[in-house]
Symmetry: C2
Subunit: 369 residues, 2 copies
């Protein structure tokens, strides 16, 4: 077999992720490697941790990127805290809540799901009621459901969880740096994210942050964490002054993450949130002009992931294929109960730009008329 030079088509990525990486982020990955024991690399690790604390809005010491994709971050957020028999309450209003429940059960948790239809969110009363039924070790919620386009309001949720002596775990895969996210102010104990959404880095790293309260749970475990690769008590030794070897971290992805985080800091969190919001509003009004209703009510709608409802005239797969083949634009179809009913259009990080919104709307205008 002859393998040609790598020459993929140039896509405009407007799906649920990965998003487009900024040229600065891409170039940073081509930087020659340092070794993982190099003091110069350790400085870069320190900077990445500082920048992660900034974007998570936390002073949590245990804040670092897991060497895996967002799903590895999800699993790390569960396996380090759950011991067999622990009761975990999971809010399931989309695909990723369901995944949390599945992984928690693999570690022996007794899982209670509170369910809502895909696209809805939970009220504080509903959460209070779920936690009142029996002692709970952890409450897990998805902040920004990439499968539905809904944003879970967080007002008062941390207080409710702590009043019931439960850890609060928040999936921030799609929300980090795209909408306000305040780990400390909201009393979130465990949060994980992913590099390839609003941070606009390539996939392969999962930022995670753990409160001191949750660290104490790790310290008091009776059993070893079943998962060795994601065992935070081992990983944190490499990410602290002792630099004790656990695994060889993905050097170039850490270069990329540093550059992506640095760009968040340069832009400023508020400005970045505003950009995501205004680009989303441009998309929403354009979609409405094309006849689409939007699946999620405006109050709970994610700016970075929009789910227009497909009406009778729309041939789901045919239009998505034409967007990809003729316009080099990627958007995604619906998942699970929303398959064939909505599209998922992402405007995250470097993908969230006026030119991309205008291009997509123009292309859809061509294809639908």
């Amino acid at each position: 077999m002859v393998y040609t030079d790598l020459n993929p088509p140039s896509r405009t990525l407007l799906g649920p992720g990965p998003t487009m990486a900024h040229p600065r982020v891409l170039r940073s990955m081509a930087t020659p490697l340092l070794g993982y024991i190099d003091p110069e690399f350790h400085k870069i690790m320190d900077e990445v941790q500082e920048l992660l604390r900034f974007v998570f809005q936390t002073s949590n010491n245990l804040t670092l990127p897991i060497s895996g994709t967002g799903s590895a971050g999800m699993e790390a957020s569960l396996c380090n805290f759950i011991e067999p028999g622990d009761h975990v309450v999971v809010g399931v209003n989309g695909f990723f809540g369901g995944r949390i429940a599945e992984i928690a059960s693999r570690y022996g948790a007794e899982v209670s799901c509170i369910e809502k239809s895909w696209g809805q969110v939970f009220s504080p009363n509903e959460i209070e009621s779920a936690l009142s039924k029996k002692p709970t070790k952890m409450l897990a919620l998805v902040h920004a459901e990439t499968s539905t386009g809904a944003l879970q309001p967080m007002d008062g949720i941390g207080e409710i969880a702590h009043r019931h002596d439960a850890l609060l775990l928040l999936d921030t895969v799609t929300s980090l740096s795209g909408v306000p996210l305040k780990i400390d102010e909201w009393n979130v104990d465990i949060a994980y994210s992913a590099s390839q959404k609003c941070l606009s880095c390539p996939p392969g790293m999962a930022p995670i942050t753990i409160s001191d309260r949750a660290v104490e749970i790790i310290r008091q475990r009776k059993s070893k964490v079943a998962n060795w690769y994601l065992d935070l008590s081992l990983i944190e030794k490499y990410w602290s002054d002792s630099r004790q070897y656990h695994h060889t971290v993905p050097i170039n992805l850490i270069y990329a993450l540093r550059e992506g985080l640095r760009m968040v800091q340069e832009e400023g969190l508020e400005a970045r949130h505003s950009r995501h919001r205004s680009m989303a509003e441009l998309l929403w009004s354009g979609l409405e002009s094309l006849g689409f209703e939007l699946h999620v009510t405006k109050e709970h709608r994610l700016p970075m992931l929009t789910t227009p409802v497909l009406y009778s005239k729309i041939d789901d797969a045919a239009i998505r294929n034409k967007l990809l083949d003729d316009y080099n634009i990627e958007i995604a179809g619906g998942f699970g109960p929303l398959a064939g009913k909505v599209w998922r259009i992402g405007l995250m990080g470097h993908s969230s730009r006026r030119e991309n919104v205008v291009l997509l709307l123009a292309a859809l205008g061509d294809l639908i008329d």
Copy 2:
């Protein structure tokens, strides 16, 4: 805080990994992303699988890169096959054998370690004897021990394992593409490797290959794999025609892996092995001229990782620090029982070049005299 442009020093990486990545590999990572559902990306995945089968010398269908570092490959090779109570025999003659035993025990295996001092290898008789004691589900060996510099001979080992109805698991992290490795001919059932050793790609991917016999063990499991992220029955669905979503794979690391594998194919496996061998011999004779003995007997010595014994005149840390600070050369110290007793000098992949050997020997000559 102000974060400057990324500007790490240019190191010559001659430690146990990561190795230097070829400029072609580095450049490939700067290629703009495709989405993970893009048919053009699926073609790249198919090519990576074909190339991995070539470097592993196997026709195993289940051959793919795990989205994590070599240690994730190790864990995937254990957690998918072990169920609580299974008996596993592990050859421990270095650090990584010990790690296999630790991870296997986390999944409930009853582990029997056969031990040798660090730098020695196992004979077929020793393995036969260990397997004769009781029924064994899996025999795990390390092909190239990066902590010691020893190469485990594989003649007849596969036959012994299968005669005792045990799966043969082989750690090929440091051996893949550096020395002959014949998965099918040797009857190896499960092998994992890492991208950042002789393949000379950045860390973050763990190639793995599984025989049909071992796949059957996965199919017949009674319990779910405790580890969700590394569950091969889910991962394989994305790496086969159904392309069913499991996690977002690290697109750019897959670009890099494809380029690194393509370069192995261009060079040819035999030529690549010869290069590693001849550069190692150049290093060995140079080290001997500088007064070093080599820890591993020539018969079992790895070409890609050499462990010179530190004699009285050598100040371990002082010389390694000067190599790094004054010459930009990274080598590594010894581990565990070999700490302070040997260095670990790697000549892997793109690091295995005459100019690097000559430079290192000249620098050591400066520093020791």
